[in-house]
């Protein structure tokens, strides 16, 4: 058995099935509860990431940073050196927001894989699942898992098993994924100057990522879409608990530009 399975996949799959057994054998509820638990366990990492991001943003808004950008506009090497110096002075790590994300990444991948593997709808998948089960509880009594939740068969894409009206399958869960991903990215991303290249990239990500996630939600087994929605909602709540939500971000940029212009902030169109 490989390290990935031993450390990540097996504990997750067995936890998921154990939660399922305690929740009236409802796999939809199990996904929701399991996602919440994983997000709670990884909350210190999320909090650390949010704090680092905030510190970085505050620093980038400072006059010292802005002056440095203007002063070394044509000399990238010098600018990088000065930026590193400032990071040191301010005690901010440029990787402070990346590292927790990197640590969370295997968890997210593991969560995705464990949901897909636990659903096991084909012989190869079911045979594969048996290799991940711990022997000290009676998994045989629970398998196959009940894949049905609300109107969904969690093992099938919503496009194949959704509510159909006049021959068209309504992408209800996919729309929820788009909405919550959009909400999360807008609420958690601070407003930035429009001329900034990184900010432009961020804006495009905020625009296309929800659509991309919606496409995945519509095409992949709906158990995964349920995980996306739950994870997004919990993410927003965690951000809210930390007092970092900025509802003004939901207002289109041109309106905020106008208000900022009137209050003296620098914006460009």
């Amino acid at each position: 058995m490989d390290i990935w399975s031993t450390l990540i996949l097996d504990p997750m799959i067995n936890s998921l099935i154990w939660i399922y057994s305690g929740l009236a054998q409802n796999f939809g509820l199990a996904i929701i509860v399991f996602t919440i638990l994983v997000r709670l366990i990884t909350y210190p990492l999320t909090a650390s990431q949010i704090k680092s991001t905030k510190a970085m943003q505050d620093m980038q808004k400072s006059k010292k940073w802005q002056d440095m950008q203007k002063k070394h506009k044509g000399d990238r090497e010098k600018l990088a050196q000065e930026q590193m110096k400032l990071y040191k002075e301010e005690g901010v790590s440029p990787f402070g927001s990346c590292l927790p994300t990197l640590i969370q990444f295997p968890v997210i991948i593991g969560l995705y894989q464990s949901i897909i593997r636990a659903l096991a709808v084909t012989p190869i998948q079911l045979l594969g699942l048996t290799r991940h089960l711990y022997p000290f509880y009676n998994a045989a009594a629970l398998i196959p898992l009940n894949n049905y939740f609300l109107w969904l068969d969690l093992s099938l894409p919503e496009k194949d098993y959704g509510i159909t009206v006049a021959g068209f399958t309504l992408p209800i869960l996919a729309v929820l994924v788009v909405a919550t991903t959009f909400l999360q990215s807008r609420l958690m991303t601070p407003p930035t100057a429009t001329g900034d290249q990184g900010a432009n990239m961020g804006r495009m990500m905020n625009l296309y990522m929800p659509l991309f996630m919606g496409y995945l939600a519509y095409s992949f087994p709906s158990g995964l879409a349920l995980y996306f929605v739950t994870s997004n909602v919990v993410g927003v709540l965690q951000y809210g608990i930390m007092g970092r939500l900025d509802w003004r971000n939901l207002i289109p940029a041109r309106f905020t530009s106008e208000s900022k212009t009137s209050s003296g902030s620098k914006t460009s169109k």
């Binding site: 084909t122 012989p123 190869i124 045979l127 048996t130 022997p135 045989a140 009594a141 398998i143």
Partner: protein, 364 residues
């Protein structure tokens, strides 16, 4: 800025298409080959096509469809009818009837709402096809629906028929076996819950008892009259039983996913002998093939074993590097046929001395 939007869209589109291709199991096999034989041909259903292979030399007679269609995938064992039909279910929710001689399509039954993982039982006048939509469909030989029976779980195993009661026994993943009237599709009885899913076809004994293996690590003897439990045998370490047992001369032969292989007395379910995973190397998924006093079993490690009825290993043959075997071996014209995966060969034929006769590798 417009160019950047376009670039982003293209990147996302490329990722989405790639991920969809990975998720859709169109070309990635999600099961192992289905295999059946008659006197002339072996019929192999695997992934996008069904192949008819000449038993004399392992050459391809025909394939269906002629051009692979990624939306149609086959894994269930095909079934032959007396009037020359080859019936095989697909993961596209359709049941296909092909002309076994030519490979042309006779009819398609499209009413299932999920995959066909189980093989169909073909009787003199009917085709009984369980699907993963928790239904058993009875059709006439022209593909017309006669009746539908609904269970509470998916059926991954071929049912068996019993002429004594004109009924069928359908094992399901809801941990129970159903007896169904073959004429009307009404339920005659349902066994108690047996502690685990059943994905193997039951064996029918001379004493009119049914023998089913479960994921709960038990082999049950059931009354064919009312489905009551007459006895049970527990596997070593609770190993899950995937395929049904094979019964011969009052002895049940079966393997488990821990790699044990058992010979159990069908009468009182006492253990006669067993082979350990150390002796056999790998999970045993397929049912054993019993010919006279010889038992042929395959393991996940890609090995074909010949045993005698005392449990002694007569010979073993490794199919090839990296090969895995989950399909039950079959016999025709003194050949032992195995259908491995993860190697080029789709079908390999041995004689009863373990000498390879030929191998079928589908042409691209």
């Amino acid at each position: 800025m417009r160019h950047k939007h376009l670039l982003f869209l293209l990147v996302f589109f490329a990722i989405a298409v790639t991920l969809s291709a990975c998720a859709g199991a169109a070309t990635t096999a999600t099961s192992w080959p289905g295999l059946t034989v008659d006197d002339e041909y072996a019929y192999v259903a695997y992934n996008t096509q069904v192949y008819a292979v000449d038993l004399v030399n392992g050459t391809e007679r025909w394939r269906y469809p002629a051009e692979a269609d990624n939306n149609i995938t086959f894994y269930a064992d095909p079934s032959l009818s007396e009037d020359g039909q080859l019936v095989v279910g697909s993961y596209d929710y359709n049941l296909y009837s092909l002309n076994a001689e030519s490979g042309t399509q006779n009819w398609v039954f499209p009413e299932a709402e999920n995959r066909y993982i189980a093989s169909s039982l073909v009787a003199a006048e009917n085709v009984f096809s369980p699907a993963a939509d928790e239904k058993l469909y009875s059709l006439d030989l022209n593909g017309r629906l006669q009746w539908t029976f609904s269970s509470e779980g998916e059926a991954w195993a071929k049912p068996i028929s019993d002429d004594n009661c004109d009924c069928l026994y359908l094992p399901t993943m809801d941990h129970s076996v159903y007896a169904v009237d073959a004429q009307t599709g009404t339920q005659i009885w349902r066994s108690p819950k047996l502690g685990g899913a059943i994905v193997g076809t039951p064996a029918y004994g001379e004493d009119s008892a049914l023998y089913v293996g479960t994921f709960g690590g038990k082999l049950f003897k059931l009354s064919s009259r009312d489905g009551s439990i007459l006895g049970e045998y527990s596997t070593a370490d609770g190993g899950w039983i995937w395929s049904g047992p094979t019964i011969s001369d009052g002895v049940l032969y079966f393997g488990d996913l821990n790699g044990y292989f058992y010979a159990v007395d069908a009468n009182d379910l006492s253990e006669l002998w067993k082979l350990s995973p150390e002796q056999l190397d790998g999970e045993i998924v397929g049912s054993p093939l019993v010919i006279d006093d010889s038992i042929y079993i395959t393991t996940e490690a890609g090995i074909l074993f010949k045993l005698d009825t005392t449990g002694k290993i007569v010979w073993s043959q490794t199919i090839g590097d990296g090969a895995k075997i989950y399909t039950s071996p079959r016999s025709a014209n003194d050949l032992i046929l195995v259908a491995p995966i993860q190697v080029d060969e789709l079908l390999v034929a041995y004689n009863q001395d373990g000498v390879r006769q030929w191998a079928f590798i589908p042409a691209e």
